[in-house]
């Protein structure tokens, strides 16, 4: 019998959205359920994942970094996926789904611009009109990505409300969806939002972990002791974790510790939602949220724009509560250090987001916590971050 899609992960998840959207979520759940195991849909998706995105991505034994850190390290090279991040796995899947559903238009939110760029790529490849909401402040910080999106025919819409960052871009995309729900698919970029998005995005990103299962068996003849992934909304983490959920593999979700694990009643100096958030409801989901004592959402902070978010996927919140994943964090400065390590020792320039995962391995390898064999998800490449890094050196 077919298993029905779950709307809740323990007490987390659900559908906390305006009434207008409920029928659309119902439709999306039905349609996704229909196509997710459909051979024609999957054949088409696999074709794009292989010939357009360049999958499978390599699992690379980082010999020099292993020596330096004192533990055997493999890197899952999502930085080599077309566009330079894991984001394309999800946008190809959802854009294809939107096309099967007969939607004429795609909208999305983006923080760093990586998800927006991936949307622009999928939109161009499938010929679907794509519009991306982006915080006005992020548009300045990430102007190369704005230009990339525009080159590929997407419209980038500046969001001037609130803190003018990712959280506000999601708000604005939801408002657009409320107004245009009949023709438009909202392509959420991480395992967040109302059901069924956390499940859909996790499933499309699970290609990462499925590949790792085969690749590590081939190379090592066994599963790793631990897998380490950076966690913003949590899509690259869930993507690599999910296929290993029932295995004896420790899963580390590394969040952005920013400039310190402190917060006022308006803002947090970090974005470590699993580590420091409290049960709440944001962007259509019940999950852990950075909030003040009244429930107002805090502005988060991180050197990595892609981790800079006050919420986190509901499934991660659940898995953290039951102890299946281990929430951790790395500070801005530690991530920068690790960024330079990977550049120098391996000739790989990682995204600042992914550098948080590397940093966690660096600081704990010698404690034994990670075991002897570690896989780090390098969720993206760092070209987009060069200006930030150069600015820090001055």
């Amino acid at each position: 019998m077919k298993q029905e899609l779950r709307s809740k992960f323990g007490k987390y998840g659900g559908q906390f959205v305006p009434e207008v959207l409920m029928p659309a979520l119902e439709e999306l759940t039905e349609q996704y359920d229909k196509y997710k195991d459909d051979p024609v849909f999957n054949e088409e998706l696999n074709y794009y994942l292989r010939d357009f995105a360049g999958r499978p991505s390599p699992l690379y034994h980082a010999k020099r970094l292993s020596e330096e850190y004192g533990v055997k390290i493999y890197l899952k090279r999502e930085d080599l996926v077309h566009g330079g991040a894991h984001k394309l796995n999800n946008t190809l899947g959802q854009t294809l789904l939107a096309r099967y559903m007969g939607k004429k238009r795609i909208i999305a939110e983006t923080g760093a611009g990586q998800h927006g760029t991936a949307c622009a790529m999928s939109g161009a490849a499938f010929g679907i009109r794509t519009e991306v909401y982006m915080g006005a402040r992020d548009m300045v910080r990430q102007r190369m990505n704005v230009y990339r999106m525009e080159l590929m025919g997407s419209k980038v819409i500046p969001v001037k409300s609130g803190s003018q960052t990712l959280k506000d871009a999601i708000n604005e995309a939801m408002r657009d969806w409320v107004a245009n729900v009949e023709t438009t698919h909202y392509l959420i970029g991480s395992v967040v939002g109302p059901h069924p998005f956390p499940t859909i995005v996790r499933d499309f990103q699970s290609v990462i972990g499925k590949e790792v299962r085969m690749q590590i068996m081939e190379k090592e003849g066994r599963f790793p002791d631990s897998i380490v992934a950076c966690t913003g909304g949590g899509s690259n983490a869930m993507g690599i974790f999910h296929p290993f959920i029932d295995d004896d593999v420790d899963l580390f979700a590394v969040e952005a510790g920013g400039s310190g694990m402190k917060a006022t009643d308006k803002e947090a100096l970090h974005s470590a939602t699993l580590c420091a958030g409290e049960d709440g409801v944001l962007h259509g989901m019940r999950t852990k949220v950075l909030q003040n004592k009244y429930g107002q959402i805090l502005e988060s902070s991180s050197i990595a724009a892609g981790l800079d978010y006050a919420g986190v996927g509901p499934e991660l919140a659940y898995l953290a509560d039951i102890g299946r994943i281990k929430p951790r964090n790395s500070m801005d400065s530690e991530a920068l250090d690790a960024f330079h390590d990977l550049c120098r020792f391996e000739g790989i320039i990682p995204a600042l987001e992914s550098s948080h995962a590397v940093a966690y391995v660096k600081k704990t390898a010698n404690t034994g916590e990670l075991g002897d064999l570690v896989v780090i998800n390098i969720s993206g490449r760092g070209d987009k971050d060069l200006e930030t890094v150069m600015g820090m050196r001055k």
Binding site: Q15, V17, P18, E19, P23, V178, A179, V281
Partner: protein, 258 residues
Amino acid sequence: MRIAEKFKQLRAKKEGALIAYICAGDPTPEATKEYVTALVRGGADIIELGLPFSDPVADGPTIQAGIQRALDGGMTPDIYFKMVGSLRLHIPLVVMTYYNLIFKRGLEKFAKDCAASGMSGIIVPDLPPEESDELQQACKKNDIDLIYLVAPTTTGSRMNRILVEGKGFIYLVARLGVTGARSDVAVSTRELIQRVKTDTPKAVGFGISNGKQAARMIEDGADGVIVGSAFVDIIASGKDVMERLEALARELKEGVRR
């Protein structure tokens, strides 16, 4: 006063209801108290008082800005309930807010605070019936009406559930989209009003900004109109706010007085 009682009175007088929204604390708690009295003087039958949330996804630019002014002015749920408790209105008062503020305070406590401060109902634009069982229970215990929204996209069994569970009045969302004053009101509104078959009063909101539009809604079968952005616009302007709030309320009330 209970919402049902208010609608009963109005029905006897063959009048539609004017439900007036402003955001509490915009720009200060003291100003809000005065603005509420101006709206009541103008003829508002029910006051819907927004409790500002940092991430109001169902609101358009006008109300977003009002919420921001209120938050900047220091409005919190504690101050809100204290202020509401001191209002002493003779008409029903309902709170409109997003779910996280209710959740964080605790559903029981929130409903109790509403009752203790003399409120009659709660509207939560990001809480569909599927997620509302617990709040519904807390509301029942405290004699508070949980008011549901119906959208143009709502149909079938979901519509039935809302009509069965909805208390106070049914909030009809006039068109797809967020709150905001419009010069046009969607044609589909009439169809929606007629599609919603219930004895519970029906009030139409989202986009209504003048007496003519308000009159149309009542002609089309609504029991009341909900107007927010047009009032918040006046507050934002900062000019002759009291007079203009009262005048607009009067115009709208004329409109619904069939």
